[in-house]
């Protein structure tokens, strides 16, 4: 068991700064999610931790050991790849056993550990198949199993669910989390999907253009985003931003507000504001109504299925405790 620490880690590819000055401490047994848009440097950060990419500056620790110069196979980590990277010519059993055999684990232990992983991941009936004969979900479980049997210090996962369909993805999300809690192994999980990040992470590190924007629990990121980028990236539908002038209210700076704090007009809210409906997203249990107010667009949240039509006027107000303020120039939270 070991934690992981990035200390001022940077990575350049020629003129591209893929990761800048990344400092991040991941506790032993913690599930840390790296999230951010495509190209923000998440994969590069993960690959540096794995040893698949050289580190341009700074240091990476696994436990107390600086691993900058340590070969990947000496780092005692296991990685789940986006495309699974199963060995095509080997059976599922051999895929799972491969890493153990390379590490000279005794045969009886290999049998036991593979059987255990196969049981947990429901792979028992598939052990003699080859990867070409597996469905996407099965291949994904084999990839997880290959990491699991290794019993490494750290699990690394790079968008492991992105090749599954939506339903399977939701299901597997829970499964990965359950497995991780069972084995209590430090995990670094990369995704561009903020829903995955919010539902899986003990803590989340939000990255943007190679920089770490904020680290915190899902709740912290949601309630107290450090800047406009994080505020806009976390939560769906996203937070709306406007200035007081745009909507005709006397509010300072740039205001951010999430849909659940924008409600149809009633006493006690800030307002009333009037706007024209631009879209209606009725999900059954709730309805999101996009409203154009002057230059700004806000999203109104209504319980249940609201009968609204695009183009109609709507009167609504803001919940004061839900307003967040950001510096107009730097975007930093105030």
């Amino acid at each position: 068991m070991a934690g992981v620490r990035f200390e001022g880690v940077g990575k350049r590819f020629g003129s591209v700064e893929a990761v800048r000055e990344l400092s991040l401490e991941i506790a032993d047994g913690e599930f840390m999610v790296l999230v951010g848009p495509s190209g923000s440097g998440k994969t590069t950060a993960l690959r540096m931790l794995a040893g698949l990419e050289a580190i341009s500056s700074g240091s990476i620790f696994i436990g107390d050991r600086v691993v900058n110069q340590v070969a990947p196979r000496e780092r005692d980590i296991a990685m789940v790849f986006q495309d699974y990277a199963l060995y095509p010519q080997m059976t599922v059993f051999d895929n799972l056993a491969f890493g153990l055999r390379r590490r000279k684990v005794p045969g009886a232990d290999i049998q036991r550990r593979v059987a255990e992983a196969a049981r947990v991941l429901d792979l028992e009936a598939l052990l003699q198949r080859r990867p070409g004969q597996l469905s996407g979900g099965q291949a994904q479980r084999v990839a997880l199993g290959r990491a699991l049997v290794r019993e490494p210090q750290v699990f690394l996962m790079d968008e492991p669910l992105s090749n599954l369909d939506a339903k399977l993805r939701t299901q597997t999300r829970g499964e990965i989390r359950r497995l991780q809690q069972e084995v209590d192994t430090t995990t670094v999980y990369v995704t561009h999907d903020q829903v995955e990040a919010m539902t899986m992470g003990d803590r989340i590190a939000v990255m943007n253009e190679g920089r770490l924007e904020q680290v915190g629990t899902p709740e912290e990121l949601y309630e107290r985003p450090a800047n406009r980028f994080v505020a806009g990236f976390i939560g769906s539908p996203a937070m709306s931003f406007f200035t007081g002038a745009e909507v005709g209210l006397n509010l300072p700076n740039v205001v951010g507000v999430r849909p659940e704090h924008v409600r149809p007009w009633r006493e006690g809210l800030i307002g009333p504001l009037k706007g024209r409906i631009a879209f209606v997203e009725a999900l059954g249990r709730e309805t999101f109504v996009g409203v154009d107010v002057g230059e700004a667009r806000l999203v109104v949240f209504e319980e249940g299925r609201a009968e609204r039509d695009v183009g109609d006027e709507i009167e609504f107000g803001l919940v004061e405790s839900g307003l967040r303020y950001f510096d107009a120039d730097s975007g930093a939270a105030l």
Binding site: L52, F81, Y87, G99
Partner: protein, 272 residues
């Protein structure tokens, strides 16, 4: 979707070109079976005189020529394949200083024809006392084959998903183990195709054999064929029979191995 008419047209065109390709081969076969004492006419069938092959074999001393050809070809193909796999692996999947320059150097070997280097090569090998030995045929052909083979295997290794190699690295496999146990089983169609091509080229090499060896017992089959031709210009059917004898090993190897590379191509297609 192709219409019926288009499909028919396709078959007709393919059929015509197949005929054009097949006719000379059939012609040689027919000629090889002609009555040796009859009037020789290329491509006509006037009986089945299998004894022509026996006569050609004995007259042409093919027992010795084929032995030399096999020794040279098998050695060249074996070592060239081994070296090409190793070099292709390095150029295809490893990052190292100077790899681009080195690779172009290999390509140079691919582009220079034997005719251009044969004279200096002769003097070099003579200085080393290697002319008139099998080495004079084997070593230069390993070199030229490795130029092609490295290019071929590098292209193959470039198509292997990088993550597969990285997964093996993280699993604790050495680069050596990754090559032989993870990558090569997948590379079988590519390696077999290369083997057939190298074997064919080595088997048919004429100029090098002509220049480097003069000892009768070291001569390879294509050379035997040409000397044969000089002695038996009038005997067209024996000449054709000798050609069949020389070409047969390559054809047999191709038929034997083609099953594998067609299967390999299909496997790739099904997985998409």
């Amino acid at each position: 979707m192709t219409s019926r008419a288009e499909q028919t047209l396709g078959y007709v065109i393919l059929g015509v070109f197949s005929l054009i390709a097949l006719l000379p081969i059939v012609g040689i076969l027919f000629t090889a079976l002609q009555d040796p004492d009859g009037v020789a006419a290329f491509g006509s069938l006037n009986g089945l005189h299998f004894e022509n092959f026996k006569t050609a074999w004995e007259d042409g001393n093919f027992g010795s020529y084929l032995k030399s050809s096999i020794i040279v070809s098998v050695s060249v193909v074996f070592f060239a394949t081994l070296f090409s796999i190793l070099a292709g692996y390095a150029f295809g999947l490893m990052r190292f200083r100077g790899s681009t320059v080195l690779f172009y150097l290999f390509l140079l070997g691919l582009m220079v024809p034997t005719e251009a280097i044969i004279v200096p090569l002769y003097y070099d090998l003579r200085d080393l006392n290697l002319t008139n030995t099998y080495w004079a045929l084997i070593l230069p052909q390993i070199a030229t084959s490795v130029a092609f083979g490295t290019y071929w295997m590098r292209t193959y290794f470039r198509t292997v998903p990088r993550s597969l190699v990285e997964a093996a690295r993280l699993d604790g496999a050495s680069t050596w183990f990754t090559l032989w146990r993870v990558l090569l089983p997948l590379a079988r169609p590519a390696v077999l195709t290369m083997t057939v091509l190298l074997f064919m080229w080595t088997w048919n090499e004429f100029l090098l054999a002509l220049v480097m060896v003069s000892d009768e017992s070291l001569r390879t089959a294509p050379l035997g064929l040409s000397f044969f031709q000089g002695r038996n210009t009038s005997e067209l059917s024996l000449m054709a029979a000798a050609s069949v004898i020389v070409a047969l090993p390559v054809v047999i190897l191709y038929i034997f191995l083609q099953r594998h590379f067609i299967r390999g191509m299909l496997a790739g297609a099904v997985k998409g």
